[in-house]
């Protein structure tokens, strides 16, 4: 409860800070909706020609894309620093968070708003409604799926970027990891063989950002929900452990920095 109260104030402050530049904020959010739409157009054209790829149809793609965009957007909008944790670590910018009586990781992640995240999040819902499979129950499952997918996505980003404590760098690593997980998440999972699937479930958990939650949105199933919850808990526990191990090696820095 106390953490939630703190998070709400932090998000309010974040939003106020982002709103100092309203035009930039809105143009980034709207721009991202257009960007996602144009990106998805390729799949519309593709399925117009082939109708089905190993059992996957355009409506499945709408769902997968909706969940991936939603999770990506939710992470950016509310935990924006998940995308530049490595830079924060190597730049010595954890000092600020470490000198305040809050959970470092939660505080650092929630301290930045990526305006385009709101565009992605909205696009996620638009994509869901466009899938032709929308229903009240489905919407509830869609929201739950996005929440779990976001947790797994953020945990993956923390895991990858915590390596910065050991490597001393991490910026390029992050971009690579984000690209990998998003790209694999929005491809029809039926395209991959068993070995590739192991990677997509356990190493780069892209399956939990696309195919698995999409199946859950289509039809409720306890095993699917259980596997998503288990993956979220497992990846988060791993991420927290690695981050806190890394913190012991944190070297701070003397670069001049500001909290924006």
């Amino acid at each position: 409860m106390r953490e939630l109260n703190f998070l709400l104030s932090l998000w309010k402050t974040n939003l106020a800070s982002a709103m100092e530049y309203r035009a930039a904020f809105l143009s980034q959010a709207i721009g991202m909706i257009l960007n996602d739409g144009v990106y998805f157009l390729v799949w519309v054209l593709f399925f117009d020609r082939f109708k089905e790829v190993r059992g996957w149809e355009l409506s499945d793609m709408f769902l997968v894309f909706g969940i991936a965009a939603g999770a990506f957007g939710l992470a950016g909008a509310f935990f924006g620093n998940a995308f530049n944790l490595a830079e924060i670590i190597t730049g010595g910018r954890l000092d600020y968070y470490l000198s305040l009586p809050r959970s470092v990781l939660l505080h650092v992640l929630a301290s930045r708003v990526v305006p385009s995240g709101f565009g992605d999040l909205l696009y996620g819902f638009l994509s869901y409604f466009a899938s032709g499979q929308a229903s009240w129950g489905g919407l509830g499952r869609f929201i739950l799926a996005i929440l779990l997918a976001t947790a797994i996505f953020i945990a993956f980003l923390i895991l990858v970027q915590s390596l910065a404590f050991w490597l001393g760098t991490g910026g390029t690593f992050t971009a690579l990891a984000v690209n990998a997980i998003i790209t694999f998440a929005i491809y029809p999972i039926t395209l991959f063989n068993q070995a590739a699937k192991v990677v997509l479930f356990l190493i780069v958990p892209a399956a939990f950002l696309g195919a698995v939650p999409a199946g859950f949105v289509r039809a409720f199933s306890w095993p699917t929900l259980g596997s998503m919850a288990l993956a979220a808990a497992g990846f988060l526990a791993l991420a927290l452990t690695l981050f806190h191990l890394g913190l012991r090696r944190y070297e701070s820095g003397s670069a001049i920095q500001v909290e924006v």
């Binding site: 106390r2 109260n5 703190f6 104030s9 932090l10 402050t13 106020a16 800070s17 100092e20 530049y21 954890l94 000092d95 600020y96 470490l98 000198s99 305040l100 009586p101 809050r102 959970s103 001393g168 913190l247 012991r248 090696r249 944190y250 070297e251 701070s252 003397s254 670069a255 001049i256 920095q257 500001v258 909290e259 924006v260």
Partner: protein, 332 residues
Amino acid sequence: MPAIQVKNLTKTFQTRHKAAGLTASVRALFRPQVSAVEAVRGISFEMEAGELLGFIGPNGAGKSTTIKILTGILFPTSGEASVLGYTPWRQRRQLAYHIGTVFGQRPQLWYHLPAIDTLTLFGKIYELDDRQTKRRIAELAEAFEIQDLLETPVRKLSLGQRMRCEVAASLLHKPKLLLLDEPSIGLDVVAKQHIRDAIREMAARENVGVLLTSHDAGDLEALCKRVIILHHGQIVYQDKVSTLKRSFLTSKLVEVRYAQQVAPDFEIAGTETLKIARERYGVKLRFDTRRTPVESVLARLTEAGDVVDITISDPPLEEVIAAIYAQAERNA
């Protein structure tokens, strides 16, 4: 019980080396050359509750590293420390409720927002209720004379104004101990004085202990009762500021610029002429404050010509440290 107890604290950083050029970068990728840098080398000291203690030393002496260990930001390599009864790196969150920090090079105020927004957020971070936070902000605003600055976005404040807001923010939760790392860095003389006065007054009013790092001997004279001088990660001197002043901060440097050219044999009684810059009409002198009072030097300088500009400063810290070393050797 002392507010801070430190025993044999050391911190070693691993530094990567790389020669210039792309080939060296590629080689460093596979076989990085790592060496250890000892930033803090076995220091021990104590600080009483409510004490005003100065930590000074040139850049790279280990001041900031020590303060960062004491706040729980860095883990030490070895040694023990207790701050207000907590081990900083193990009980960081509990400790953070009782200490305030200001890092001159790392502002905590949100850059695009007015200071009042950060202060309100800090109220939530420290779990104060809204009424408490408001009352405390009003109190601090008065003490630091920042009432008119609170609603201006921080990016539009001058450095001096911003630092006053920073120190005010660090006192929001009524900490028992304030850790200030270079609070006067980059400030002009007036702003420095302003911030020193405000810190001193607040510390006295609320009985807050202050541990301050600086590479400016002026901060120390104005704020601290006791001083620890660090050099290359080790304590080279610790004593009362008054003793340090009596023994080592005995000389002042004066730089004067005149409206007309300075004679090549320019001399002021009781001072040593260090440099005459004839083309810039300037002269640099040093004098011993125990033998020649500042007022008499000033009077003689103004008699000598029309003064355009004048600066009086303490000798650089490096000279003070050299003197401390020299004395230690003589005693040995």
